[in-house]
Each structure stands twice: as structure tokens, then as C-alpha cells.
């Protein structure tokens, strides 16, 4: 299994949406900001429960050579169990950016 993350970002790969008005766009950005806030609070649970079940009474529940890629992918550096909980701050930053953009859009509209 080769699951090590190689995605490093660099420019949005997500196609931009078309809005009818700057008001609509501002509204969409505020909604998206709320979602990122929510996700910032939940992403840690995606890996936490799995990592907690890797051992039982101090012994690995799965050992042997075949388990090594599994443990490495989950716990290595960087790996899912470290990377995914780390999205908390980037999500909060993104939410903040979205709100600032929404504020600007509304300011421009009100001028």
C-alpha cells in the first residue's frame, strides 16, 4: 500500500463558481466560512478513534511485516493521523479569509 500524501497544494485546483451578484458571492463565502469552522472542530476525530484502536493492552492488534505499511501510512511522518488533525488551523485561517473577503465584497457593493 502506498498512501503517503504527496499533495502539497499550490493554487486552487477547484473551479471557481459564478455568482449573480457580489451579494450572493459574499453570502456564499460566509456560509463556506461557517463550514470550515465546523470542520476545524471535527477533523481530528477522523483519525483519533482509529489510532486509539491500534493497540490492546499495550500490544499491537496487528503485527508482522504486512502491517508495517499500514502503520507507516497511518502514523508515519507525515501521515494521515498527523496530517488530518493538522487541518484545524488551516481551516480556521480559511474561514477567516472567507469572512474578510465577504466583508470586502459588501463594502465595495455599498460604495
Amino acid at each position: 500500500m502506498a498512501y503517503e500524501d504527496s499533495a502539497g497544494g499550490g493554487g486552487s485546483a477547484f473551479p471557481p463558481l459564478t455568482f449573480n451578484s457580489s451579494a450572493d458571492e459574499a453570502s456564499a463565502k460566509r456560509i463556506a466560512a461557517r463550514r470550515f469552522d465546523e470542520w476545524a472542530g471535527t477533523v481530528a476525530s477522523f483519525t483519533k478513534d482509529v489510532a486509539a484502536k491500534l493497540e490492546r493492552d499495550g500490544e499491537p492488534v496487528w503485527s508482522g511485516p504486512a502491517s508495517e505499511p499500514f502503520h507507516r501510512a497511518l502514523l508515519g511522518d507525515p501521515a494521515f493521523a498527523k496530517k488530518i488533525p493538522g487541518y484545524r488551523n488551516p481551516y480556521l485561517d480559511t474561514a477567516g479569509n472567507l469572512r474578510r473577503s465577504a466583508d470586502k465584497l459588501e463594502e465595495n457593493r455599498n460604495r
Partner: protein
């Protein structure tokens, strides 16, 4: 070969956690995230943008890891060469990974499909049979088996099994005889193992829809298919129950044997009056092969520890309802293995049956209330007479009577009756008012009454059964109401445990079974009486009475005993 150590329970919990995480990263979540990132554009920091791809990879990782780990748990825990250290199982897997196993299975399934097509064309199945024999280990691997069967094709699986059972069986949907079954399994067990190992709902649905009666019965008896599959197959398999005339329908015994692999399912079927009637139909019990299968399968379904108590209660209700009918009693009288299986399964209820018996003794007698019955309780509506009739068929066999006698002796010995008598120091009024003593008396005497009644039932002597019941009733009531006879009655009963110990359960069983070379009823009655007298004398001496005086009292007891019990026992000439 791949070495592995697995903590099965821990691994299952880990798989459950992975499934839960995978479900959290749902299609809906990913769609929402993608939409939010489309809205955000450059507002999204680079890590946030990258997270989408990471989640997709993590989800695929969870899916494949869960599959891999589930496969390893199944393979390792069923591997014959696995070793256990604490709770961890160590062993090796034939394939490097679940994925490799599936790849090999798919390739081999395609190869086997060609072999099968050639076998059909040429009418020569040897290559097919040899191939299965050479791959029997791989075919037990769940991933390999599932991929193999998908590549071979579900239609081909059905065709092969149907044609093979037709070729090796008697035809006419009468199933395979034990010899034919063994021959069939030698050749096709690997294929059936693969079907059982592969967790493939589509294949299973197809089998339920298309597999013939003979092939289905053979598959179920040769494997441990999931309970849901067997439950779905039961209506088809039982539709011919009781229809064969003048020939043996082996599918019925194969079905009953297969149900023995699923005791809780069989219990459910017995709990339903309609299916219980079908499974225990007189025509079915006339078949020795079917009785053999019943003897093997019923104990698990009727065991006190294996099931839902309410379902067990309903199952026993139906078994005793049918089991006390003449055809069933006759079937048990003619089949020692079935008798022993049912007697043994019934033993936990013997104390409660004795309690019901004692309840009939005190019925209508003012001032006497039985203590609460002890569990397990017989189903509502079951009478002591039903139990006696049911056991009457079994008790003619030494093995069953031995088991019953042992249980009676254990209940007597464990009753603690003598201890309580000693505690009251000979004050009979106190004894009569002691609920615990009452309780122990029921435990001591009731089960014996049930077994004695079963003997008379076996002889078809209901008059004798009523007499016996009456005598035991008098013996029982004598203690609680008896004036001058009270001393004798309590001593008689207190010695029951001693009698059981002295004569030994085995001799009692021999007497019950009427073995002419072992012990005659007269000898038994004599021994029983002597033991009672000796135990009674010792009891009085133990309570401080002069031995000579005690022996004089014992003479009175002997006379009483002759009148109450010994005479009845002496009349058991039919046992010799």
C-alpha cells in the same frame, strides 16, 4: 506466505473504527468540502486545498486496510497451524495480501471455468475434480474464493453442483445416502468450502434461487453457511418432509444434520408449532437416519445455555407436547441414541418436574404451601404426566435410565434434608413449619416420583402410576400432618440421600432398566428397605437415642415402609 500476529477482538474493533471513520468521510462531506473550496478559491490556504485529496486517499486507505485486516483475521483464526500466545494469534497466510489472494482467485477461476466447459463437452469430470483437490487450501481463503467464484460464474457454480449431485445421488430429489455423500464430498468439498468462505450476497441469492434440493441439502450439511442463508433455505428443504412413501428421503436427515450446525435457528423452528409439527412428524420419526440426525441436532437447540429463554421455553413446550404422544414415545423406545439425547437435554428440568409432582400432592391440603419452584421452569401447561410419558419412552434404555437415576440421586444428595432435620433436633412441629425443610423435601421426593411414574408409563400401567403417586403423596403429607407416623415419615425421607449413596446411582439405574442379570426389583426393594431402616436407626442414635430403643422404633418403621413403599416395589415383577 506472509507472517502475521493478530489480536482478533482488537482487530475487529480496529476495523469497526476504520469503518466509522470511512463513513464520516462520506460522499456528502467530500462534496460539501469541494463546494466550499470552489467558493473560497484563493481564500483557502494551501493545506486546506490539499485536504480534499488527502481525505480521498485516507478513505481509500481505510477501505483497503479494513478489507485486508478482516481477511487476515478470518484466515489466521481458522488456520490449522496457527499458534496462540495470550490473546494474540500468530500464523502465516498463503497469500501476501487480500488483494493478491483476490487476483490469484480471479485468474484461477477463469482457468477452472475453461476446465468445466471442457468437462461438460467431453463428459469427463476428472480434470475438474483433480483441479479442486489440488487447490483445496486456497479455496478456503475468503478473498481468493470470492474472486474465484465470480470468475467461474454463479451459473456455473449452480450447474456444477446440481449436475454432480444428480450424477452421484439416487435422483428423484431423494438426497444422497451417507455413502454417496462421503463420495461426493471427497470430490467437491473444496468447491463447497469456497462457497462458504466467499462473502458474496449475489452468489448466495443465486444459490437460493437456483440450487436443486439435493445440492442444497449437501451444501448445507457439508459447510457452515451463514444462518440467514440456512434460514432462507429451510422452507424449500422442508417442503418434501413426510412425502416420501416406501423410500428413504435422505434430504430430510441431511437437513436436520445441517440445522444442528445452527442450534439457535433449529430452536426457533421448534418454537413454532407448525414447523415443530413438521420436524417431529410421525412419518419423519419412522426414519432411522432422521432419528440419528435428530439425536445429534436436538441437544444443541434444547440446551439451557445457548439461547433466548423465551424461544427455548416455546421449543420445549412443543417438544414435550409432541414427545408425550404415543408415536414419539414409541420412537424413543426404539431408539437409544435419541432417547439419551432428549433425556440428557431434559435433566435440568427434572427438579421442576418433581416440584410439579409435589404440587399435586399438596393440592387441596390446607396449611401446606410449596416453596417457590427453582429454575429452570418447565413451560406453562406441561404436567407431571406429560413428563412421565415423555420419559417413559426413554427410560426403557439403560443409558437413559442411568442418566435419570444419577440426576435423582444428585438431587437427593444435594437436598440437605438431613442437615435441616438435625438442626431442628427432633422437634417435628418446628420441622413442619420450616419452609426450607419443605423445599428440600420437594427436591428429594418429587423427582423420584417423576421417574417412578415414567417407569409405570413405560409399562403402560397407569393404574400403578396412580398408586405410586398416591403412596408418595401419603409419604409426603405424612411428614407435615402425621401424628404418630411423623417420626417414621421424616426418617424415611431423610434417608433417601443415604439410600441413593449406598445403593449407588448405577444399581438404581440397573434396576430401572430391568437388567435381569444385575438386580431384580425384589432385591432392589429389599436393599432399599434395609438401607432405609439402617439410615433411620443411625439417625435416631445420632440424635442421642439408645441404639436398642432406636432399633425397636426401626422395626415399626420397617412395617410402615413395607406398607407404604416396599410392597409397591415388590410388585414390579415386569422388570425382571
Amino acid at each position: 506466505m506472509s507472517y502475521v500476529g493478530i489480536h482478533p477482538e482488537g482487530a475487529r474493533e480496529l476495523v469497526a473504527a476504520m469503518d466509522s471513520a470511512r463513513n464520516a468521510i462520506s460522499d456528502g462531506f467530500l462534496a460539501d468540502l469541494k463546494h466550499a473550496l470552489c467558493v473560497a478559491q484563493s481564500d483557502a490556504v494551501l493545506e486546506a486545498q490539499a485536504s480534499f485529496t488527502v481525505y480521498q486517499r485516507y478513505r481509500a486507505f481505510l477501505e483497503e486496510s479494513a478489507r485486508e485486516l478482516t481477511w487476515r483475521v478470518k484466515v489466521i483464526t481458522s488456520a490449522p497451524d496457527a499458534t496462540v500466545d495470550g490473546e494474540t494469534v500468530y500464523g502465516s497466510t498463503r497469500f501476501e495480501s487480500a488483494k493478491k489472494a483476490a487476483e490469484q482467485g480471479a485468474a484461477d477461476g477463469a482457468e477452472f471455468k475453461e476446465l468445466w466447459a471442457k468437462a461438460e463437452r467431453d463428459g469427463d469430470w476428472r480434470a475438474v475434480e483433480e483441479w479442486l483437490a489440488a487447490h483445496q487450501d486456497e479455496l478456503k481463503d475468503p478473498e481468493y474464493a470470492a474472486a474465484f467464484l465470480r470468475a467461474f460464474g454463479k451459473e456455473n457454480v449452480v450447474a456444477l453442483l446440481n449436475k454432480a449431485t444428480e450424477a452421484y445421488g439416487p435422483g428423484s430429489h431423494l438426497g444422497l445416502s451417507p455413502e454417496q455423500l462421503a463420495y461426493f464430498q471427497e470430490r467437491f468439498q473444496p468447491l463447497m468450502d469456497a462457497i462458504a468462505a466467499a462473502d458474496d450476497p449475489e452468489l448466495r441469492a443465486h444459490l437460493l434461487d437456483r440450487l436443486g434440493l439435493d445440492a442444497m441439502a449437501v451444501l448445507l450439511v457439508s459447510t457452515r453457511m451463514p444462518e440467514d442463508f440456512v434460514r432462507a433455505a429451510v422452507p424449500v428443504l422442508t417442503q418434501t418432509f413426510g412425502l416420501a412413501v416406501g423410500v428413504t428421503d435422505y434430504n430430510t436427515s441431511l437437513t436436520m444434520t445441517a440445522l444442528g450446525h445452527h442450534p439457535e435457528l433449529l430452536q426457533e423452528l421448534l418454537a413454532d408449532p407448525a414447523t415443530a409439527n413438521l420436524l417431529l412428524d410421525p412419518r419423519m420419526l419412522a426414519d432411522p437416519e432422521y432419528r440419528k440426525a435428530l439425536a445429534a441436532s436436538l441437544p444443541g437447540a434444547l440446551d439451557q445455555t445457548t439461547s433466548n429463554p423465551e424461544t427455548l421455553d416455546r421449543a420445549w413446550s412443543n417438544v414435550l407436547r409432541l414427545g408425550s404422544q404415543d408415536y414419539f414415545v414409541d420412537a424413543m423406545a426404539g431408539d437409544e441414541a435419541l432417547s439419551l439425547a432428549l433425556t440428557t437435554a431434559f435433566l435440568p428440568y427434572l427438579e421442576n418436574a418433581g416440584h410439579l409432582m409435589a404440587a399435586s400432592y399438596v393440592d387441596g391440603v390446607p396449611g401446606l404451601d410449596l416453596p417457590p419452584a427453582r429454575e429452570p421452569l418447565l413451560p406453562a401447561g406441561v404436567t407431571p404426566e406429560m413428563v412421565q410419558d415423555f420419559l417413559g419412552g426413554a427410560i426403557v434404555h439403560k443409558s437413559s435410565s442411568d442418566a435419570l437415576a444419577r440426576q435423582v440421586a444428585e438431587l437427593m444428595a444435594g437436598s440437605g434434608f438431613e442437615t435441616l432435620l438435625a438442626e431442628h433436633g427432633g422437634d417435628y412441629e418446628k420441622m413442619a413449619a420450616d419452609p426450607a425443610l419443605n423445599d428440600e423435601m420437594v427436591a428429594a421426593l418429587g423427582p423420584l416420583g417423576i421417574v417412578m411414574g415414567a417407569i409405570y408409563s413405560a409399562q403402560g400401567d397407569n393404574l400403578r402410576r396412580e398408586d405410586s403417586s398416591k403412596q408418595e403423596r401419603e409419604l409426603y403429607l405424612g411428614f407435615f400432618t402425621g401424628l404418630g407416623t411423623a417420626k417414621i415419615s421424616d426418617a424415611a425421607l431423610s434417608s433417601l440421600a443415604g439410600v441413593a449413596a449406598q445403593l449407588g446411582a448405577n444399581k438404581f439405574a440397573q434396576w430401572l432398566a430391568g437388567q435381569p442379570d444385575d438386580i431384580t426389583p425384589e432385591q432392589y426393594a429389599e436393599g432399599l428397605r434395609d438401607s432405609y431402616v439402617a439410615a433411620f436407626t443411625d439417625l435416631l442414635v445420632g440424635q442421642g437415642m439408645d441404639r436398642k430403643l432406636a432399633e425397636e422404633v426401626a422395626v415399626d418403621f420397617r412395617a410402615y415402609f413395607d406398607a407404604m413403599e416396599g410392597e409397591a416395589l415388590k410388585q414390579q415383577n415386569a422388570f425382571g
